[in-house]
Homo-oligomer: 438 residues x 2
Amino acid sequence: MAKANTSAPGGFPEFTPAQQRVVQHWKKTIGEVFEKHGFPLLETPLVERAENFVAKGGNPKEIYVLDRLLREEAVDQDKDQRAIRFDHTVPLALFVARHFNELSFPFRRSVIGPVMRGERQQKGRFRQFDQCDIDVIGSENLSLANDAQMVAIIVEIFEKLMPEQKFIVRINNRKIISGQAKAGGATPKEIWEITDNREKTGQKKYEQEIAKAIKNKEVFSIFSDKVISEIDKARKKRDWEKYLELLENSLGKLHEECKAGLGELRKVIAYLDSMKIDREKYDLDPFVARGLDYYTGTVFETHLVGSEDLGSICSGGRYDDLAQIFTGKQLPGVGISIGLTRLLWQLFDAKILTPEQATSSEVIVLSRSPEVLPRSLEIAQKLRSKNIPTEVYLEPKKIQKQFAYAQKMGIPARVIVGDDVVVETEDPGLEKKINSLL
Amino acid sequence: MAKANTSAPGGFPEFTPAQQRVVQHWKKTIGEVFEKHGFPLLETPLVERAENFVAKGGNPKEIYVLDRLLREEAVDQDKDQRAIRFDHTVPLALFVARHFNELSFPFRRSVIGPVMRGERQQKGRFRQFDQCDIDVIGSENLSLANDAQMVAIIVEIFEKLMPEQKFIVRINNRKIISGQAKAGGATPKEIWEITDNREKTGQKKYEQEIAKAIKNKEVFSIFSDKVISEIDKARKKRDWEKYLELLENSLGKLHEECKAGLGELRKVIAYLDSMKIDREKYDLDPFVARGLDYYTGTVFETHLVGSEDLGSICSGGRYDDLAQIFTGKQLPGVGISIGLTRLLWQLFDAKILTPEQATSSEVIVLSRSPEVLPRSLEIAQKLRSKNIPTEVYLEPKKIQKQFAYAQKMGIPARVIVGDDVVVETEDPGLEKKINSLL
């Protein structure tokens, strides 16, 4: 018999047991912060009608659809194709459309789970990956305090997950860029794109492309080197009042939309102050535009300080229209998304995170002889009853073999049962806790 | 423009936000108990090679495979079909095969997540559903203490999830039935099936079918009514020593395999006693056989007392061969599985569970006027910093509208901010906690 090909299909990633501890810890922490801020986890099916994905801009070459391995009859395969979600936003829009009359608005939900895209295979790109999203959807208007809350949530998540790592949330408002574009006779989309590319292309190329795009040059001005250096000074001092003033005075003839954007930004900062979010945790950046078409106001991205080459690790923004084509209503929203699988893959690859423990157990109980196993089982149950994750080495093996297993799994504490019971760990708190239960 | 068909594809279930609170609570609790017992969550891809599913008994008519909505070129579609997992056992076998040399044995893992089966549509049957599984895999032998631990885990999970609900884990050992079958010249499989059906068909039909299947009648005996009534007495008294003695004396000529099965059962009970598992929580049942072919020793099923018609809510057993066709090695294991989606659907449908809260927030902060919103935001952040899930009604709406939202969402506590701050809740503990932070 030919040996089975058991390899994982390309692009469908698999973390090691040790890496999985990190994945699970991140998912748990992210989910807890989401729920603590009023965004309950809400799972929707992996599958929706393909036509709805296409209607919302999905790429038919990358959308996976379900067929059966053996199809009995040619059922209505084309009319009713089941497609796997490629993000969490379209399923959210469909959920809202389906349950509009039962839901309370503002409607908040979080989701942590897999999506699939049939992308070309390359290092660090996956065809199945976990995204962690939250969104709040209003039925008419939606307070800018919601935008500020997104920043508070990002800050809390990464403070919890990477307490040693400096990170920064960069905030801007797209209306400022759109207003400038409109004043200059260009389309907002082209100016967003040029702005979004500035970090890659550099200031010079940025200026050339802006000059090319702008028709109405007399009412338009881009920031001079002098203004940029003043803006940078205000940013370093976290003097957002000065920052807004500089922008207001340097944008040429202020289009209404610029004014609106500046006003929104001012409110978001005021709410962040009310929430006592440390100004060191975020930055205002006039060049943040984000790639996606549908953002209309506040936009966010998040960078690890010193590892900016990883790109944004958490992004999002305000949108005016979640699901008009599904609901017939214009529903405003604001949301953020963490591309968890890709991010953790990068952090493992760059050795920014190095997982050490291959299991969830904090304690392993070892038995010097098979006769003491009942005692070991009893001890383990006692520790579990106090919520200490505990496993027992159940096989009748030599104690050396049991120690080797415990070490390979990276379990922080060992309870060795023989004529007496010995606790071994480098964690004094855990040692005390275990001893108090024995 | 024709209105989009936004309905969910048939068989892909969607719970309401309130039901989702229960789903999430169950997943979290089940995952915590799994991990507390040394079974770390380990996610494997949703997708594997279709040929491997077929090799392990998957039904090609029910296996979903991935195609692309728009295929650019006829790539190696047939040779390398990507199929969606239909259970968690085959993916576990493939994971073990792929990583055999890196893993430490006994290898434990848990998984909570979706699988898909293209079943015929009917009430309470789904094409995507969550299964919660744990398995422990040995490299050679595997102590029967593992089987006992499965029972301890089932008991802990349902005590936590349904503290008011009586449930019972029914335990048997298939070797007892296999040994009888062999002594009587029948195949174990046919006797398992007849035994498994007894609850549906009744004792009379069971006896007829057994009589038909058994060739070597002189060495075979089924339990007489008298023995069954004695067995039932022992079961009621939880006198497992008596139970085993009755079986031993009533099974006709004791085949070696019967003896082995009885011995295993005796050991499992001894381990359960060591773990101080209340004998009231489980039952020995000579007619439990379970449907799946691959079980070889201990088998479990779990029933809600008074709702036995729901069927088993958590089942599992011991198997000798997880993945020989993938690994070339005979790896013994024992595992259990909870069909979460189906179970919760049944519990909602039968009104055994009635979800009340539509969000994760324990507290909502309401503002008597838009001016006090900054104060509301500050209070919410303070409550969150003490891990109290809190949301703020952020929109500038009349207070009545805010109350109506809070009530519709079923949030247990309200903090109303105006000239003063008022706490309203029927939970005195929560009230105290909130007041201490204001």
